[in-house]
Subunit: 262 residues, 2 copies
DNA sequence: CGTTTCGTTGAGTTAAATCAAAACTGGTGG
DNA sequence: CCACCAGTTTTGATTTAACTCAACGAAACG
C-alpha cells in the first residue's frame, strides 16, 4: 500500500462512542449464557455477576477501545461482530481476532489493551467494571476456569490463523476465512440445510484483506474467481452462500476429512 | 516450495524419543522457579507438585510430541529451546510458537495437541502426569491463575506474530524475530553489556523461514543484507551479535520508542 | 438525484519464490 | 592430519503471485 494512502487512513477521526441505555436482560434468558465467560457459573455466582453488569451498545464502525487506551471494564459480546486489530506506525493494519457473540473482551489484571477493538455491525456488550470483576475472579473459581478455557481456545485459533497468514495462497486464505466463519455459524445457528450454508459476514473487502494479510483488490479477485467456478455464490452485498461446504474446504489447503463424511 | 521437495521432507522418519534419567532438582533451586507455571505456588503447593514431577530430556531434533498424538503429561521447559509447528498435507510448515525456558507445554483438559513440538537444541522438561496435575489445578488456585496469565501472554505474542506474518516485509520479519529473541534473552540473561547483545539462536535458516513464513533463501539473503549494512554481525554459525539494539528495532517497522531512550 | 462509499476489473510492477549451483561447516574415519 | 561426506548456507538467474495504480460500476444515503 502506498504511504500517502495509508496515512490518509491512519488519521481518520474516530467516531465518538455512544452510550446506549439498553433493556436489562436477565442472565437466565441470555442468549450467550452457556458459552460466555459466565458459562460455568452456579446460580449464586450469577447473582453476583448480575449485580455488577451493565449493557452497552455500539453502532457500526464505532471504536470500542483504541490501542493504549485505558479500559475500565471487561465484557462479553452479546450480539454483533467486532474486530481486534493492530496498526503499524505507517498505517499497515492487521486484524488479529474476530469477536463473535460470547467472546470475551479485555484482560483481567491489565487496564489497557494493546489493540484496537472496533464494532463491525451493531454490537451489544455485557460489561463488568474491572475491579469488581477481578475480585469475583479471585473469590470464585468458575469464572477463572472458563476464562482459561476460552483463552486457550483463542490461542489455538490464533495459531491456526498464523498458518493461514504465513503459508497459504490468496485463494486458500479466502477459503479458510469463509470456512472458519461457516463452521462457527453452523455451531450456533440452524443445522445448515443439507450442507447449504449462508454466511452473513458484514466485513467489507478491506476488512477481509486486513484479516488475511492481503490487499482488498486481491480479495475481490479471488472471491470473483471462486464465484465464477461455482464454489460460492454471492447473495446481496456481503452475504455469501456456500452450496457445498466440502467443496469450499477442499480449497483451504487443509488436510480436510474433518470427520463429517456421511 | 515445489511439491516433490515438500513431500520428501514430510516423510522424513522421526527420531525415536529417548528417555534420559536426569538428576532430580529441588524446586527451590530450580532456574525457572519464579517464571514457570509454578511461580505463584506456596511451599505446600510446591511440595505437592514435587511429588508428581519428573524430568525428561530430548536431544536436538527430537520430537517431543506429534500433532494428533496422545500426550500423557504437561510440562515446563527447564532448559533449551523447542518449537511448536503445524504442517499442511502437502508439507508446507509454519511455526506457531517458540518455547523457551519457563514456557508451558500442553493443555489441561485435552490429551492430544494439534501441534508438532520439537526440540531445537538439547531440551530438558519438568513433566507432570496429566491426571494428577489436573487434580492439583482443581484444588489449588495458584497454578490455574499463573497458567491463565501465561496463556494470555502467549495469546498476545501470537497476535503480535500475526502482524509480522501478515503485514511485514522479509527484512522487517527478520529484524522482528531477532528483536523478540534479544528482548527475551535480555530479560533472563546478563543485562547486555552497553546495548551489545549476543543472540545464541540455535535455529537453522530453514527453521527461521518456517517461523517467518518465508523461504530459507530469502532468510539468508536478508540476513546477509543486514550484516553488510552493519546492523548485525555474524559470530560463529547460528550466533548473531547485535551491536545496537535500537538500530535493529528501527528495522522492524514497529512504532519503537519502547521507553528506553536515554 | 448527486454524492459517497464500496466493489470490480484491467494493466503494469515488484518482492519474494523457485530453480540451480557453488561454498562453507563440522564430524568421521583412514 | 587430512580427505571426505552430509547437511547447511550463500549467492545468482529467472519466474510468478500478489501488489500497485487507475478507472469504472453499483449500492447505499441523505
Amino acid at each position: 500500500m502506498p504511504l500517502d494512502r495509508r496515512l490518509a487512513k491512519a488519521v481518520t477521526v474516530p467516531s465518538i462512542p455512544k452510550l446506549t441505555k439498553d433493556v436489562e436482560i436477565e442472565c437466565a434468558g441470555c442468549p450467550i449464557r452457556h458459552r460466555a465467560v459466565c458459562a460455568k457459573c452456579a446460580p449464586d455466582e450469577l447473582t453476583r455477576l448480575e449485580e455488577i453488569k451493565y449493557y452497552r451498545s455500539y453502532e457500526a464502525g464505532q471504536a470500542i477501545t483504541w490501542a493504549g487506551d485505558e479500559m475500565g471494564f471487561v465484557a462479553s459480546v452479546v450480539r454483533g461482530v467486532a474486530t481486534i486489530s493492530q496498526t503499524m506506525a505507517d498505517g499497515r493494519k492487521q486484524m488479529v481476532g474476530l469477536l463473535l457473540p460470547s467472546d470475551f473482551i479485555g484482560r483481567p489484571g491489565r487496564s489497557s489493551t494493546p489493540y484496537d477493538v472496533t464494532a463491525v455491525g451493531e454490537v451489544t456488550l455485557c460489561c463488568f467494571r474491572r475491579k469488581p470483576f477481578e475480585q469475583l475472579m479471585a473469590t470464585t473459581p468458575h469464572v477463572a476456569e472458563r476464562l482459561l478455557d476460552m483463552s486457550l481456545d483463542e490461542l489455538d485459533a490464533a495459531r491456526e490463523w498464523m498458518l493461514v497468514l504465513g503459508r497459504k495462497t490468496a485463494r486458500e486464505k479466502i477459503a479458510s476465512l469463509l470456512t472458519i466463519i461457516a463452521r462457527r455459524e453452523a455451531t450456533v445457528g440452524v443445522p445448515a440445510m443439507k450442507g447449504r450454508i449462508t454466511i452473513d459476514l458484514q466485513l467489507t473487502r478491506e476488512a477481509m484483506a486486513d484479516y488475511l494479510g492481503l490487499t482488498l483488490e486481491t480479495v475481490s479477485r479471488q472471491i470473483s474467481a471462486l464465484k465464477n467456478e461455482g464454489v460460492i455464490e454471492l447473495g446481496t452485498q456481503r452475504r455469501i452462500v456456500v452450496p457445498d461446504i466440502r467443496r469450499l474446504m477442499a480449497e483451504t489447503g487443509d488436510d480436510m476429512d474433518g470427520g463429517l463424511i456421511a
